[in-house]
């Protein structure tokens, strides 16, 4: 029987990134994927004829450009298009737009508050400073603070030096920033509800926290540290939907000699004498490999794929304590024609951006209170966009694909599993909110896919449907991610590695966990890493 050099469980973007790097380093790599397609949460699927759905993740920014370059993704079809600003609709019949042009942005804010309009530069400066502090950490393995190994001490010193390089004012802000709520942080800059709501949304997307929860300022940063071709903080669409990212990765992987098996669900990881030897598929087929890399989240990997007896108690306890909380859902809609928003002029660039209807931090927080009570939000927060206004490949001319990311949706409804009726109720809360701002919206709907945490977990395999494979709170960041003592992509089982978003630096279509894991694996194998370009400078 053939023994692969490495078997990657899960063909999500991080699994594929990892596989690509390993294959290019000369390993013979197999990716096994349970679905009939690869992509994980970064897919484009034709769920109704003529429409491509980015049915899970829907926008691109965080994906590391170093990876795109190393893996020649443009050659395999990846192209990211910046989108144009966006808006928050207000309940008084107006909207607050975000324009890409600095002065238009200021004038737009000045419609609501001259003070806030002029406060924006200082806010942007402070957030940029924080991003610049974090960004270089994305593509580094977090140090183990309890270790005395030269490497860990070196990394700790690197962190220390980076911190010491800040001015005292910046240090103070950094310390506060990491523990503040986005709501409190914004209060220090702005006075207008809708302007605060406009920024606060980046502090909650993907988390099971409300904008008033400490720590959400950091979550905002997580959404700000991406880029589109050097334009830091910008967001874009992958041409052809988010599947274009994983399609390019898969093609790059195969072009370099890698093998992908779809429809191959892993039942468990074979472990002998404390070392991973391969995987066993659901049908019983055994595939042997010298090492195994799991793209699945840490709970799925160690509570479902590895036998308990192979793992130390303290590790198991920590894995069980890892917080993966479903907090969001998705409604994907095929539209017969472009919806109209009477408040929005027809020539507004906002149609080509992200749209929101939650015009105050309080509404956002109340939506979170529903989640805490085990219900989906009666007045949900939507991150809605129509990628087809920019990307002609996703639907035929005149037809549109609309993606609605919805918060909050609990992993269980009142402590029990989601039912189809719940799902319909959840969808209705979304559609009725849109219809409030867009008369005739319902009539344009050709097809709709509703994904509660139940559907996301079932299809993509994300525990509780959590898009980040684990909450981005301090207890689960850096050397605590996914669990203390195993934050360096290795696990207690020899030859079994983690490369998913459960690991540092966390979720989003970033690819950094996949690459960082490859770095560690190649280090263990003493393989050269010349095909891995250094992280881009932050100057």
């Amino acid at each position: 029987m053939k023994a692969w050099d490495a078997i990657v469980i899960g063909g999500g973007h991080n699994g594929l990134v990892n596989a690509c790097y390993l294959q290019r380093a000369g390993l013979d790599v197999l990716v096994v994927e349970k679905n009939a397609w690869v992509g994980g949460a970064a897919t484009s699927r034709e769920l109704t004829p003529g429409f491509l759905y980015s049915n899970c993740s829907y926008v691109c920014s965080l994906f590391r450009p170093e990876i795109m370059r190393d893996l020649e993704l443009p050659r395999f079809g990846l192209q990211v298009i910046s989108y144009e600003g966006g808006a928050v609709f207000t309940r008084d019949g107006d909207y607050l737009a975000n324009y890409r042009d600095h002065d238009a942005h200021r004038r737009e804010f000045a419609r609501f508050s001259r003070r806030d309009a002029e406060a924006y530069d200082r806010y942007a400066r402070d957030v940029t400073r924080q991003c610049r502090f974090i960004q270089p950490l994305l593509m580094r393995t977090a140090p183990d603070p309890t270790s005395f190994r030269p490497r860990d001490i070196g990394e700790l010193l690197y962190l220390g030096r980076k911190f010491a390089g800040l001015s005292p004012e910046e240090m103070a802000l950094t310390l506060r920033f990491w523990t503040m709520s986005i709501s409190d942080f914004l209060d220090e800059y702005f006075e207008t509800d809708v302007i605060k709501a406009n920024f606060a949304l980046s502090g909650i997307i993907g988390t099971a926290l409300g904008p008033m929860s400490p720590g959400t300022a950091y979550v905002l940063l997580h959404h700000y540290m991406g880029e589109v071709d050097g334009s830091v903080g910008a967001w874009g669409y992958a041409r052809g939907g988010m599947g274009a990212v994983t399609k390019a990765l898969a093609a790059s992987f195969q072009a370099s000699g890698g093998t992908i098996r779809t429809g191959a669900e892993v039942d468990h990881v074979m472990v002998r004498h404390g070392k991973a030897r391969g995987v066993v598929l659901a049908g019983g087929e055994e595939i042997s490999g010298k090492l195994v890399v799991s793209n699945a989240d840490v709970k799925r990997t160690f509570l479902k794929l590895v036998e308990e007896k192979e793992l130390p108690d303290i590790f198991l306890r920590r894995v069980r304590n890892f917080k993966i909380r479903g907090s969001s859902g998705k409604v994907n809609i095929a539209l017969d024609s472009l919806p109209e928003f009477p408040t929005l002029p027809k020539d507004s660039p906002v149609y080509r951006g992200d749209m929101h209807f939650t015009d105050s931090v309080e509404r956002m927080e109340r939506a979170y209170d529903d989640w805490k009570a085990g219900q989906w939000s009666a007045d949900p927060f939507l991150d809605m966009m129509i990628p087809t206004t920019l990307d002609p490949t996703m639907a035929s001319p005149g037809k549109h694909f609309m993606s609605c990311f919805v918060q909050y949706a609990p992993p269980k409804v009142n402590g029990r599993d989601w039912t189809d009726a719940d799902r319909d109720g959840f969808a209705e809360s979304v559609i009725s909110q849109i219809a409030e701002y867009s008369p005739g919206f319902r009539d344009r709907i050709i097809h709709m896919e509703v994904r509660t945490p139940r559907e996301i977990e079932a299809e993509v395999g994300l525990t509780e449907g959590n898009i980040f494979q684990g909450e981005l709170t301090f207890d689960q960041l850096l050397f605590n991610r996914p669990v203390p003592g195993y934050a360096q992509y290795r696990s207690p089982v020899g030859g079994l590695y983690m490369c998913g978003s459960s690991t540092h630096p966390g979720g989003g279509v970033m690819g950094a966990p996949g690459r960082n894991a490859a770095t560690e694996i190649l280090r263990d194998l003493a393989k050269p890493k010349q095909h891995m370009s250094p992280a881009h400078d932050v100057i």
Binding site: A172, L175, T179, S213, T473
Partner: protein, 521 residues
């Protein structure tokens, strides 16, 4: 005319501690108190004919040992014996209570044996971790602008203490440090009563719910305090909190501190960036080389110094300190002692907590985010007259309770909301102590707005600023100025708004005095 080296504004416990320590170090010190009595929020006051109560702080659980020692408080009438430790009783609506005896539950009763084992482990862990943070209480926060060798060395000690925990323990410490309390409790405990009590304690006095990240710090803060040498222990001082103040006052006066009450300060006189004295409401001016403000940070700078004398960035920082209180104080004059269901006589002398579960506390917290009070509030109740009959007429009883959540900025305004909130509290009390309502002779409810007005505590916040991670240590009261000195030379802060924060600890006052002495002020 008498001349003074230092003037302390505010005769609360921190002001008095600061004054006493300065005086013991050879300074001539004058304390100016606006009210007609000293003690600030640590007074014992009459609230109904024949009834007296610790009017804000009512449980002594964190008076710092260095303060006790420096002021020789035991020689001045402070007497804390181990036997005085009172239990914490987690009340239950539909069953027997759960009780933490001794110093924060050395013994746990009313819980299953497996829960007792779990608690033993968790308690030890919490105390161990709080112990790491404890030394930080009695010293200046690290200075980010460049630390002296001494400071670096003492921080190094904290790092070393951390390393001494052992690898796995240290990892857990670093993981849970900024966690929310509810998650940690869910990880280790199962009994809702116990979890509710701990969730309540972690969030008491702050604008956080148990599910808010960082809320565990509140529990650490409590457990970093000690009483009678035991971490987490609590007592109800005989004579109320005012008795503690009397001891501090005696120590201060013995050291030569002069105290003037009913003497509000109108402003701090600043000349060329230096504080040189104070002007009283009466117009009188008193000069001194060192001015110590033991009152609220914002009041100090906005009202007494005035924004004209300080920089705009600093004005912003002070203005950004979050200090809107969520805790109300209830005083009931009762005809007779109440009977809380399932609680025996001895435990009635303890701290009775209504916080049935972390979720309940969280739900109580929700409305406060939007300026509404909790319809089903959580609270800690003491019946101080049971152990100290001098506080109430014969046979009668005093009930003192801290109740959450009562947001300072109530949207419907407290003039409207107060009667409704009192009703909500009484409904809760009636559930746990049936019949109590009929025995109420007099009720006094102090909302944060009342506390603000009566005790000159802006926002009615007893910490003079939210005690949350971003307002702690180097960020307390504001970043860049966490070491008790201020941008105004010769002016120092010594109140709860400064590190480490509120509660009757005396630590801010002590640390400030030490700083002044080190700076030869």
């Amino acid at each position: 005319m008498m001349s003074f080296d230092a003037i302390v504004i505010g005769g609360g416990h921190n002001g008095l501690v600061s004054a006493a320590v300065l005086a013991k170090n050879g300074r001539k010190v004058l304390v100016l108190e606006a009210a007609d009595d000293i003690g600030g929020a640590a007074r014992t006051e009459a609230f109904a004919p024949g009834f007296r109560v610790s009017s804000i702080a009512h449980v002594l659980n964190r008076l710092h040992p260095d303060v006790v020692k420096a002021l020789e408080l035991e020689r001045h009438g402070l007497d804390i014996a181990r036997g005085d430790f009172v239990p914490s009783v987690a009340l239950s609506k539909d069953g027997p209570p759960l009780i933490l005896h001794g110093a924060y539950g050395e013994v746990l009763t009313g819980a299953s044996s497996s829960e007792q084992t779990a608690w033993k482990g968790l308690r030890a862990q919490l105390l161990r971790y709080a112990g790491i943070l404890k030394p930080l209480l009695a010293r200046r926060p690290p200075d980010l602008g460049g630390m002296s060798l001494l400071e670096t060395a003492s921080l190094g000690q904290t790092a070393l203490a951390l390393k001494r925990l052992g690898k796995e323990d240290m990892r857990d410490f670093l993981r849970v440090l900024l966690m929310n309390v509810a998650d940690l409790l869910d990880e280790q405990l199962t009994d809702d009563r116990l979890k509710g009590l701990l969730a309540f304690d972690a969030t008491l006095g702050s604008h956080l719910g148990p599910r808010s990240p960082t809320s565990l710090l509140g529990l650490y803060y409590r457990l970093a305090g000690e009483t009678g040498g035991a971490a987490g222990a609590q007592t109800l001082p005989k004579g109320g909190m005012g008795a503690v103040i009397s001891a501090i006052r005696a120590a201060a006066e013995r050291a030569g501190v002069a105290i003037r009450t009913s003497t509000p300060v109108a402003r701090i006189i600043v000349a060329k960036g230096r504080a040189v004295g104070v002007a009283l409401d009466s117009g009188e001016e008193i000069r001194a080389k060192t001015i110590v403000s033991a009152i609220n940070t914002a009041t100090t700078f906005f009202d007494l110094v005035g924004p004209r004398e300080i920089d705009t960035g600093f004005v912003r920082k002070v203005g950004n300190i979050r200090m809107k209180g969520d805790a109300a104080k209830l005083h009931l004059a009762l005809d007779r002692p109440p009977q809380f269901a399932g609680v025996d006589a001895a435990d009635h002398k303890g701290r009775l907590v209504i916080a049935p579960s972390p979720d309940h506390v969280e739900h109580a917290f929700n409305p406060s985010k939007y300026g509404a009070f909790s319809p089903e509030p959580v609270m800690e109740i003491t019946l101080p007259s049971l152990a100290d009959p001098s506080l109430a007429p014969d046979g009668a009883c005093v009930l003192s309770a801290v109740v959450q959540y009562a947001p300072y900025a109530l949207r419907e305004r407290w003039s409207e909301g107060k009667p409704k909130f009192l009703e909500a509290i009484m409904t809760q009390l009636e559930t746990y102590a049936p019949g109590i309502g009929k025995t109420v002779r007099h009720a006094e409810l102090l909302t944060p707005a009342d506390i603000e007005a009566r005790y000159r505590m802006p926002g009615g916040h007893w910490h003079h600023g939210e005690l949350q991670a971003d307002q702690m240590l180097m960020s307390r009261p504001v970043s860049g100025w966490s070491g008790y000195d201020t941008p105004v030379e010769g002016l120092f802060l010594a109140g709860a708004g400064s590190h480490p924060g509120g509660g009757v600890s005396g630590a801010p006052g002590l640390n400030a005095a030490r700083r002044i002495i080190a700076m030869r002020g």
